[in-house]
């Protein structure tokens, strides 16, 4: 296996053509950016199939792709829990039940919804933590890309950072959110078409799904698990000791499937922003549902290559082996190693372009979410209110430049201090874990008050921190993994199990405290103010679809049935 790729002219041509189109889309949209709304919210005019693909594409960043492939190699098919149980139910819930409030409230962002529904402090807390988080996420994406290009192609780290930042800056500065969304759609198709040959060749070389199952049965038994541990989804999670991830079904369903998944898909402005940019209420509601259709099949594109990689590695005759990192495999290298193993020059350029595209769209997604929250929820609300719309358009564009500059700083920080990044991600996990409880109560219980929401959130975050401080995953070596409160009350079989339970504790605490504090405080929002924001005070919407089969409910049922069939097929 060649450690570094040698690219030919054809590979560079493919990359070049892609970048020309990316920049061209931004350029073509430039003359339509007349108001801050055009720039920051996409002018609410985009059809559902586009926002739907952008909805999942923004989550299909390269870190996600490489992480899922790594997880596929490390844990096998149970990684699909991050899709079938860990995304689809939440996407259905968002489309059917939550989108009417987001879209109908005319809020321009998720923090703004919190302002309308609760109060200023809840919005401020959410806006500031979200803004900081997006900048760091964008920086990490840039850092990971530059590192990958350095190791694979020998490109200069600083040059990679500079070029990727420039390209993202140009197309988001020119075309705003719409440009980011259009490019996400382009990237989505590029990833699918770029990775399909990889899955095809991988399966062909290993004897199809059946061949993969036989090979992985050996891997599983050699680790002391049942033969199906790498190729089944629900059977291995009956007990935490039956699967390499160390998770049990309750943690999977409640921690991942409910708290983490609903918290991410239903409250993270990064993805919700895509649905809010849709052209109509019906399109907004269909956005996550349309996105769910391809989402269910993405495991075959990103997890299966990881499974093939570990099967090949365990077979000494295959001529493929994952590199070592310390005393275990360097799982994060699965995708680039597999691309290098199977792809000749030509499609190799295509695969690498797809990978770069997803790094950049990961950045662009964060930047466009950041500039909206910065401009509307921080700048317009606290720093400089009541200026002309022209001024806010200008501020949005400046926030784009500023956001990218700061994320370049974050990328270098990630290079210098790896621990700082782990630490920050941990803090954000604490802040995000209880968020869904706040939204759930806010949208479906009109008695929830601003104080209840704010202090409920704080209590949830505190609970997450305390739980993390008192528990540890097995074999933890640093305090960043937990146990920093000194005494370890419980040891989880794995970090993943610990994460799921941290989320469960945070959610439950936030839920309970929000209810108690709401009952103890006065609801200062009037009935009129809450109309359109709370379920019981919002008139049922009549869907404007022409035919019955175009309604969100019908789509939701179809999506649900396919997800159930997939789960049973790979039970």
């Amino acid at each position: 296996m060649d450690s570094a790729f040698s690219l030919g002219w054809i590979d560079y041509t493919i990359m070049g053509v892609y970048f020309v189109f990316v920049l061209g889309i931004g350029w073509a949209l430039k003359r339509h950016m007349k108001s801050s709304a055009d720039f920051l919210t996409g002018g609410k005019s985009i059809p559902a199939w586009i926002t739907g693909l952008a909805f999942i594409s923004t989550n299909l960043g390269a870190l996600e792709v490489m992480g899922m492939a790594a997880s596929g190699a490390k844990y096998g098919m149970i990684t699909t829990h991050f899709y079938w149980i860990g995304a689809i139910p939440a996407m259905i819930f968002l489309g059917l039940f939550m989108m009417p409030f987001y879209y109908g409230s005319k809020a321009r962002s998720v923090p703004e919804y919190l302002k309308l529904r609760f109060d200023e402090k809840t919005r401020g807390f959410n806006a500031v933590s979200f803004a900081v988080m997006t900048i760091f996420a964008s920086g990490i994406s840039m850092y990971a890309m530059a590192m990958l290009m350095e190791t694979l192609l020998g490109w200069n780290f600083t040059l990679s950072i500079f070029i990727s930042a420039m390209i993202v800056l140009i197309y988001t500065y020119l075309g705003g959110l719409k440009s980011a969304i259009y490019n996400e759609v382009l990237q989505f198709f590029l990833i699918v078409i770029g990775f399909l040959p990889l899955v095809f060749l991988g399966l062909l070389s290993i004897g199809g799904w059946e061949g993969l199952k036989i090979q992985l049965a050996e891997v599983a038994t050699s680790h002391g698990y049942a033969a199906g541990a790498w190729t089944e989804t629900w059977r291995p999670v009956a007990n935490a000791s039956d699967n390499p991830m160390g998770v049990e079904w309750f943690g999977v369903v409640m921690g991942l499937g409910f708290v983490l998944s609903f918290g991410y898909w239903c409250t993270n402005f990064l993805v919700v922003q895509r649905a809010m940019a849709a052209g109509s209420m019906s399109a907004a509601r269909k956005t996550p549902l349309i996105g769910a259709l391809p989402k269910m099949f993405i495991p075959f594109l990103v997890i299966v290559p990881g499974m093939i990689a570990i099967a090949l590695t365990s077979n000494p005759d295959s001529g493929f082996a994952l590199p070592l990192k310390g005393d275990s495999y360097d799982y994060d290298k699965v995708i680039p190693m597999m691309l290098g193993h199977y792809f000749p020059t030509g499609v190799l350029g295509l695969g690498l372009t797809a990978l770069m595209a997803s790094f950049m769209s990961g950045m662009a997604g964060n930047v466009t979410a950041f500039n909206t929250v910065w401009t509307y929820d921080i700048y317009q609300s606290y720093i400089n209110p009541e200026k002309s719309d022209k001024h806010y358009l200008w501020m949005g564009q400046m926030a784009t430049v500023f956001g990218i500059l700061v994320s370049i700083g974050a990328a270098y920080m990630a290079k210098l201090f790896n621990n700082v990044m782990d630490f920050l991600q941990l803090i954000f996990a604490f802040i995000n874990a209880p968020l869904f409880a706040t939204f759930l109560l806010g949208m479906f219980w009109r008695r929830t008050t601003g104080h209840g929401a704010f202090f409920g959130l704080l209590s949830g975050t505190t609970a997450a921190a305390i739980h993390h401080g008192l528990t540890q995953p097995a074999g933890a070596t640093s305090l960043i993994k937990g146990g920093w409160l000194g005494t370890v009350v419980h040891t989880y079989p794995s970090e993943m199990a610990q994460n799921f339970w941290t989320a469960i504790f945070a959610f439950t605490t936030c839920f309970v405290f929000t209810i108690i504090i709401s009952l103890l405080t006065k609801q200062i929002k009037t009935k009129e103010e809450l109309t359109g924001l709370v379920y019981s005070l919002t008139p049922r919407i009549k869907d404007e679809s022409k035919h019955w089969y175009q309604r969100p409910q019908v789509l939701a049922i179809v999506v649900g049935i396919i997800a159930i069939i997939l789960s049973i097929l790979f039970w």
Binding site: V17, A28, L29, H32, I50, I193, L350
Partner: protein, 70 residues
């Protein structure tokens, strides 16, 4: 909608597809190159797939454009 995203997607994939297809045809006689892809000319087939996809996108995009101008 000011620009129909199907058109740039269609153009890009047709162009890249054509490029890979031609590259695949010219390297057909190079067994060394396709050894790693199990003797399959993966450039040719990927190119063909992309060309078909790009063509479909262009077809629907242009059809929508025509019906709008009518």
């Amino acid at each position: 909608m000011e620009i129909d995203i199907r058109l740039p997607i269609g153009f890009m994939f047709s162009l890249l597809g054509l490029l890979l297809l031609i590259f695949g045809l010219t390297t057909e006689a190079d067994p060394e190159l396709y050894k790693r892809s199990l003797e399959i000319n993966v450039n040719l087939w990927s190119g063909l797939l992309m060309l078909i996809f790009g063509g479909l996108m262009l077809f629907f995009g242009l059809r929508a454009k025509r019906s709008k101008t009518k």
